[in-house]
Amino acid sequence: MDGMMAEAAFIDIGGLDDIPLRGARTVATAHGTIAVFRTGDDAVFALRDSCPHRGGPISHGIVHGHGVTCPLHGWVFSLESGAALGEDAPCIARFRTRIEGRRILLDIAGPILAA
């Protein structure tokens, strides 16, 4: 359940300006590669960098609003929920992020579990 993770482990992964506006960068972690997105309104989201369709790197997709389009076959995902819009597919695992000043902190303790 959400919030039931034992220990949150927020780690400073870089500055907001290290990620292009409407773009993403990746972080190598024990949970695999995580894509960290920065949207047009400067919100930050972190999702596992692997599309449930055929494993496409969503970090390379085009970011629009709070969504991203997978570069391989064009599936669209909500960055807020990880859900695929209009596809019957499992959500992409999400990770918590926090902004302090202009630094980005990522919780690498583990993904947010579905409620």
């Binding site: 992964i13 290290d18 409407r22 972080v27 190598a28 055929r54 390379h60 997709g61 085009i62 629009h64």
Partner: protein, 814 residues
């Protein structure tokens, strides 16, 4: 009987220009058939829009686009046109007009509309070949005959005309220097701050601007070779364009004894000192004033027409006119008493970083003058406030920010609130009343019909929204805009309309497009953003700053993404040629970065597959070192130019197809296109390079080359259409550049040449590329202009950039 046996009064018009024909149009509208009309025109062409000579020079228009009344119009209205014959005498006693080639035409009423003459500086050498003025279509043709890539050109005069000429020639590839006598550009329209921004913008476009500089002489034997300045400096020049001012062309009027001062003197109804003779346009002087813009001329035409057919008319009072720069790529508008004086105050908005400066000059809370540069989006509104002498006290605090700050934010309501006299279409001088009247009188129901009838919105299209609002209000629910497929779910506008408004509205960034065209999502989607990015690159070469985040991953990474998230790398092999040095470099790269697969592509080059993201920049650096550059296998761009061995080796080859392929690839690499663009050149009709399934295919014949277009070997097989046959290599290059540019400018994003040609028809493409010689030249010029900014190897750029972030993790936590 229709009374045709009664002799109709004979009207002779001298001057087939803008003023003369506008008056004739007004007469025909008021009293069709009233006069028996003859028109003498010193120029050989039918009546055209002189204002549009600037885009004609710049290559944005063709002559056919700027004709106002074609020969059919004269015929349909029973007007006798004597084009290309100068009138050199009027016998006022016997009421007879005499042309220089011997035509003699009697008149009952005479209209002088002889316009102006460009002023020629009285300095030594002004008569040398290559020293031109900028007034007529013949002048433009003379310039285009001389100007080529790199032609050294001096424009004398930094006023409106001079700068439009300079910009047009710059776009044609000339190396342009502007010499201006005064310390700042356009001093009659701009204050020093605005002039400074303008100078900066033009310098950025590659022009050299010399202010406070005076010309002493033109050097050269027969043809000009240099301009000598007062301080002795010589500026080499093969072409000189003088745009230092105009003088009313009143020579004929003076010779026949009409009262003249600077121009032909007229009263408030455009009557000269001879009651049978009217005069109008730039040749006249009214109340001590002479004219150089069309707005007052349209008013004169109305008044003269009424008076000539005996209808009552209010007397002429000149209204303020507005000056705008049309083609320099810089938005600039000025009107009224923009300099201000002791009795005025100013409201100024300055954003130097974005190159924006706006200044309103107020006297007792009324706008009496304005200047704006960099952003002219509110200029029409400000100008209307100025013309109406609106008291702005209530919104003085916000007036500089434009009407958005006003409560009436609904743009439709704003148009409906304008008076009938408000100008809607600036390009063609059409006001609101004319549009609404034509909609009702002629039962117009579509935008195209309004464009055809009134010319409103038919030039740059930036007033399309206003015209549609008028249609909507006139027709109510009956107004059904032609159903069009919107570009994507973020907008209701189709591709073509979005493009039209990008150029027409001078929209230069994706946010500006989304703002102006009322996008329904905050920042678009994966379909519209790449399309807009392309349309902006195509519209504003050298100016638009590419938005990497609006590009599909391949174009952002300059490599093709593979199904496992690795990339493939395909270097360019010009015309399919390679050599041991390149092959060795490829072999070394494959070993050094453990690239799992190497394959010969279907496009005659080598693909290295499975390159890791983090190795990309290093791979490119190594390939660059051996002279290999990006092959754009990932781009909506020029891909490959396939060739066969041709006449150099093959026993059947008739031309050197390999060399031709290399030349075409050298010319066109780096070009961004709506979809990928492929070419091939075969050395004989056996067609081993498969030219007949390429976007642009070339096949050698004994006599020269066959040029074929619109082929596609992909999902839906389509053989090429024959474009034309040419004889020289230079023609192949020229037609190819022109064709690519037409495709770049007119096809929709992600439309290959094959479906595009199916949509517009090969006849249309032939007409634009083969039949319209001037148009082909203009397309060619725009292609080469764009290439100046496109031919940068992205691999070299990325691998030498300080921190090409997208190729690495932002953090590694394992």
């Amino acid at each position: 009987m229709d009374g045709s046996n009664l002799p109709r009064p004979r009207l002779v018009v001298i001057g087939n220009g803008m003023a003369g024909m506008r008056t004739v149009e007004e007469i025909l509208a008021l009293a069709p058939g009233y006069f028996d009309i003859t028109v003498f025109g010193g120029e050989a062409q039918p009546n055209y829009d002189r204002i549009m000579l600037s885009p004609l020079l710049a290559g944005g228009k063709r002559f056919a686009d700027i004709v106002l009344n074609d020969y059919d119009w004269y015929e349909a209205n029973n007007i006798r046109l004597i084009a290309g014959e100068h009138v050199d005498w009027v016998d006022r006693k016997n009421r007879l007009v005499r042309g220089a080639k011997g035509s003699e035409v009697p008149y009952d009423m005479l209209l002088l509309a002889t316009g102006s003459n460009p002023f020629v500086l009285p300095v030594p050498g002004a008569d040398k070949a290559g020293v031109l003025t900028f007034r007529t279509v013949a002048d433009v043709e003379d310039m285009l005959a001389v100007v080529k890539q790199g032609t050294r050109t001096v424009v004398i005069g930094g006023g409106l005309l001079g700068l439009e000429a300079a910009h047009g020639l710059n776009l044609r590839g000339a190396d342009v220097t502007v010499i201006h006598l005064m310390p700042t550009l356009m001093e009659r329209q701009l204050d020093a701050s605005a002039a400074h921004l303008l100078e900066r913008a033009l310098t950025r476009r590659g022009m050299t601007i010399l202010t406070a500089t005076e010309t002493a002489a033109f050097e050269g034997d027969q043809a000009v070779t240099a301009v000598r300045l007062k301080d002795g400096t010589q500026i080499p020049a093969e072409l000189v364009v003088m745009a230092v001012g105009i003088r009313p062309n009143a020579g004929l009027a003076r010779a026949i004894g009409l009262a003249c001062n600077r121009g032909v003197l007229v009263d408030d109804w455009m009557r000269t000192s001879d009651p049978a003779i009217f005069a109008i346009g730039e040749c006249v002087e009214h109340n001590g004033q002479v004219f150089g813009l069309v707005a007052p001329i349209w008013d004169m035409a109305k008044i003269a027409a009424k008076t000539m057919v005996g209808a009552p008319a209010p007397g002429f009072t000149p209204v303020a006119s507005v000056t705008r720069l049309k083609v320099s790529g810089v938005d600039m508008v000025s009107a009224g008493a923009f300099m201000g004086d002791a009795t005025t105050d100013d409201i100024v908005l300055r954003d130097a970083a974005r190159g924006i400066y706006k200044r309103l000059v107020l006297r007792e809370n009324r706008i009496v003058g304005m200047v704006c540069i960099g952003d002219a989006s509110d200029a029409a509104w400000h100008f209307q406030l100025m013309k109406d002498e609106t008291d702005i006290e209530a919104f003085r605090d916000t007036v500089i920010f434009g009407p958005v700050s006003d409560d009436a934010a609904d743009p439709d309501a704003a148009v409906l609130a304008l008076p009938d006299s408000a100008e809607i279409c600036g390009c063609n001088g059409v006001c609101k009343g004319t549009i609404t009247a034509s909609i009702t009188a002629m039962g117009l129901t579509t935008l195209d019909a309004v464009r055809a009838r009134t010319k409103a919105s038919s030039s740059c299209g930036s007033c399309t929204g206003l015209v549609e609002a008028l249609l909507k209000s006139a027709l109510g629910a009956a107004y059904a805009p032609v159903a069009v497929k919107p570009m994507c779910k973020c907008t209701t506008l189709p591709h073509d309309e979005v493009r039209r408004r990008i150029t027409g509205g001078a929209l230069k960034t994706i946010p500006a497009v989304m703002q102006a065209l009322e996008w329904q999502t905050p920042d678009g989607c994966a379909a519209c953003r790449p399309a807009l990015n392309y349309y902006l690159i195509c519209a504003w070469p050298g100016e638009y700053v590419d938005d990497a985040q609006s590009r599909f991953v391949n174009e952002r990474m300059h490599a093709n993404i593979q199904k496992d998230g690795t990339f493939s790398v395909v270097p360019r092999m010009w015309g399919g040629l390679t050599n041991s040095r390149e092959l060795r470099a490829i072999a070394d790269v494959v070993d050094k970065y453990s690239i799992p697969e190497v394959k010969i592509t279907g496009g005659q080059r080598i693909d290295m597959l499975g390159v890791k993201r983090e190795d990309l920049t290093a791979v490119w650096r190594d390939l660059n070192a051996a002279g290999l550059v990006s092959g754009h296998a990932y781009g909506k761009a020029l891909r490959t130019v396939k060739t066969c061995v041709g006449s150099e080796w093959c026993r059947f080859g008739t031309q050197n197809s390999t060399a031709m392929g290399v030349a075409l690839e050298r010319m066109s690499w780096g070009s961004w296109t709506p979809h990928k663009f492929k070419m091939a050149v075969s050395g004989c009709p056996r067609n081993c390079a498969e030219s007949s399934i390429k976007d642009f295919g070339v096949i050698a014949t004994d006599a020269g080359w066959d040029l074929m277009v619109g082929g596609n070997g992909g999902i839906k097989l389509r053989g090429t259409d024959m474009l034309c046959k040419v004889t020289t290599d230079a023609e192949v290059m020229e037609y190819c550049a022109a064709f690519m540019q037409l495709y770049r400018e007119e096809a929709r994003y992600l439309e290959r040449t094959a479906p595009w040609i199916e949509r517009v028809g090969i006849e249309y493409v032939r007409q634009r590329i083969v039949e319209d010689h001037a148009g082909r030249g203009a397309l060619w010029a725009r292609f080469h202009h764009a290439q100046r900014f496109a031919q940068i190897d992205p691999w070299a750029e990325q691998s030498t950039a300080p921190e090409p972030a997208q190729y690495s993790h932002v953090a590694e936590l394992v």
